[in-house]
């Protein structure tokens, strides 16, 4: 089990540094959220994306702003990668007015249609069906936009996965299914919940093109997604990418992370950290210097710090607005 990122294979330095910056932004935001949670400043749930950053970053690098992303309960990374500003993500988790939904939704209800983030969701499954619907509208309106659905291994055992992929297949819909297989649905192992843990095989059984990649190798995800997005945007029907990955934090902040996986397993996956892997590859291939990468890290840290301060100083919503936006006004 080794993640080895081959930086110089076929990507130029600008692209690699952009991927590095993208993953690091997500990581720094998540680390800030963990601290805010521990200080008791996040009044609800917080599922972090730490360890899985390569996937959102590698996939969204190929998307235009008018492409749409349907996300999950572990969706902060997708929001950031699709272009939601950090202060809007942090602000939403703090329940503040600067949040992208003005504090109304929290961690699992990040919405920002203006950048194509069609929502993170607290219920597993529905996003698969909605992403298929978005793809249907693009086909009907003859738009070359792509609909992307992120989901975990847990969703693969939900009826919505089967309904969506079947529909997408029969209509050749422009939807990219990205399975982030992090091996656990909350704490139930995927291998315990299904006889066949090969998600790519399920795609094949519906006649859908697919491939699996090391989800901790951002270059591998980037290359697979390039092919997948090209396939989907080119009108050749849906595509599924299975990214094998791991969350190194508990399912949700505040949950005890024991009893279902070993510390040894967690440690092994931490060795495969996607950000460290790219950093190492950039050194090894002599493409970037320590100074360059540290300078990027400093800039990202400063941006996230400023975003956190903006979010923390933002007001809470007016209680009288609790009854607004039920119907159109």
């Amino acid at each position: 089990m080794q993640t080895e990122t081959h930086a110089g294979a076929d990507l130029n330095l600008d692209t690699l540094l952009s991927l590095y910056r993208g993953m690091l932004s997500i990581r720094k935001i998540e680390e800030a959220l963990v601290r805010l949670y521990q200080l008791g400043h996040i009044p609800g749930a917080c599922h972090t994306y730490i360890g899985q950053e390569a996937i959102a970053t590698g996939v969204c690098a190929h998307l235009r702003q008018d492409d749409v992303v349907f996300s999950t309960h572990r969706g902060h990374g997708h929001a950031v990668a699709k272009g939601v500003p950090p202060e809007e993500v942090i602000g939403e988790l703090l329940g503040r007015m600067t949040g992208c939904s003005r504090g109304r939704g929290g961690s699992m209800h990040l919405f920002s249609p203006e950048v194509g983030l069609m929502g993170t969701t607290g219920i597993v499954g529905p996003n698969l069906l909605q992403s298929t619907g978005a793809a249907l509208s693009f086909q009907l309106l003859r738009l070359d936009r792509v609909s992307v659905c992120f989901f975990g291994d847990g969703a693969v055992n939900n009826g919505a996965f089967h309904e969506a992929i079947n529909m997408a297949a029969i209509w050749d819909l422009p939807v990219l299914f990205v399975c982030e297989n992090n091996m656990y649905a909350t704490e139930v192992p995927f291998a315990y919940a299904t006889r066949n843990t090969d998600v790519v095989a399920r795609a094949a059984s519906y006649g859908v093109a697919s491939q699996d990649v090391d989800g901790n190798d951002v270059v591998a995800v980037f290359n697979a997604s390039a092919q997948a997005v090209d396939h989907v945007r080119g009108g050749r029907g849906p595509y599924l990418v299975e990214c094998r990955t791991y969350r190194t934090r508990p399912h949700a902040e505040g949950m005890r992370d024991v009893g279902y996986r070993t510390q040894d397993e967690v440690s092994q996956w931490k060795q495969r950290d996607p950000i460290a892997a790219l950093r190492t590859a950039l050194y090894n291939d002599a493409m970037a210097t320590e100074e360059q990468l540290s300078a990027i890290e400093e800039r990202v840290t400063a941006t996230v710090d400023a975003a956190r301060e903006t979010a923390e100083s933002s007001p809470f919503p007016d209680p009288s607005t609790a009854t607004s936006h039920i119907f159109s006004e």
């Binding site: 929502g119 529905p126 249907l136 039920i326």
Partner: protein, 328 residues
């Protein structure tokens, strides 16, 4: 203006919207080639193509989920659930997604979908083809629910529902499809969602109803007045959510007596909500107890004809309720 069956008025409404606006599409089981099990969408696939009249796989949550996703990206989908009884697999999409999208996105998202679905008894459909579970939906903030029975109302409300930026459950009484006839305007006819209609004017007692039981209520009012004289007002709610409280209160303040009649079972039904509104806002005007007549609280309409008859409330039952309330 032409005389049309309820089913023709609904089909006209769909065709007119599809003619006028490319964003309008239909998705559901058997809605395309077959034209729907009741043939509401007959001929539409021939005219508008299989891209806009989509024969979906047999999966209700898919139908509603795809409609939500398409609506969020520029379309005005009209989804058909073949029978209201089949809607439970789509409840997650309706209750957790469609009803809450606007609210949880702080107004960023519209959800302009219509869910058309036949409901109610009267065709011996028994347990899974006869239910009236509309109160399940009226309880959920964020959903609108309409149940027109007059053909012109059906066409006008359908047009309003298609262009409404919020999700609308559009209930079509399956017994009414080919038994209710009426004058239907040709083009551009709309009926506002949330407005009741006075189906019969009167001054001594108010009946509040909708759907096929509205027809029974009108027949019962006729029979009662013919025998006893007096004057009975009948309100057709048409919209169940939002509910036209003003129309209900205005009528009850005039007559002093309210009889609520619906096909759905009694407990937790629309009737309870209406009774509460009257009690809260028109208590001083009442000359008798607010009365409900509704289906019994059994799981669903049974099959065998005598059992089915025991479930159904017809014009004789309604007339008996009128007599009792009028004499109070």
């Amino acid at each position: 203006m032409a005389t049309k069956l309820l089913i023709e008025a609904i089909r006209d409404g769909l065709a007119e919207a599809m003619d006028q606006d490319e964003r309008v599409m239909i998705i559901g089981e058997d809605v395309g080639r077959r034209g729907g099990v009741f043939r509401v969408t007959e001929g539409l696939m021939d005219t508008y193509g299989e891209m806009r009249v989509v024969d979906s796989p047999l999966a209700e949550s898919l139908i509603v989920g795809v409609a939500i996703g398409a609506a969020a990206n520029g379309m005005l989908p009209v989804a058909e659930i073949q029978f209201l009884d089949f809607i439970p697999p789509a409840m997650d999409q309706l209750m957790s997604e469609a009803a809450k999208l606007r609210y949880r996105s702080n107004g960023d998202w519209d959800c302009p979908i219509v869910i058309r679905t036949p409901y109610g008894g009267g065709i011996h459909g028994a347990l899974y083809h006869s239910q009236s579970i509309e109160a399940v939906f009226t309880h959920i903030p964020g959903l609108k629910v309409v149940a027109p029975i007059d053909p012109a109302d059906a066409k006008g409300l359908l047009t309003s529902a298609i262009y409404d930026p919020d999700p609308v459950i559009f209930l079509e009484h399956k017994k009414g499809y080919r038994s209710i006839r009426g004058e239907v305007p040709d083009n551009g006819h709309t009926v506002p969602i949330g407005k009741a209609r006075i189906a019969r004017e009167g001054s001594d007692l108010t009946i509040i109803s909708y759907g096929m039981y509205l027809q029974e209520s009108l027949a019962a009012a006729d029979a009662y007045v013919e025998e006893h004289g007096g004057s009975i007002e009948v309100i057709d709610l048409r919209s169940l959510k939002p509910l036209d409280s003003d129309a209900i209160l205005e009528s009850v303040m005039k007559t002093g007596k309210a009889l609520i009649v619906h096909e759905a079972n009694m407990f937790g039904g629309i009737g309870g909500e209406i009774a509460a509104i009257i009690a809260e806002h028109a208590f001083a005007y009442l000359d008798g107890p607010v009365t409900r007549l509704a289906s019994p609280d059994v799981p669903a309409m049974p099959f065998s004809p005598p059992l089915e008859q025991a479930f159904v409330r017809d014009k004789n039952d309604i007339r008996a309720a009128i007599e009792k309330l009028a004499a109070f």
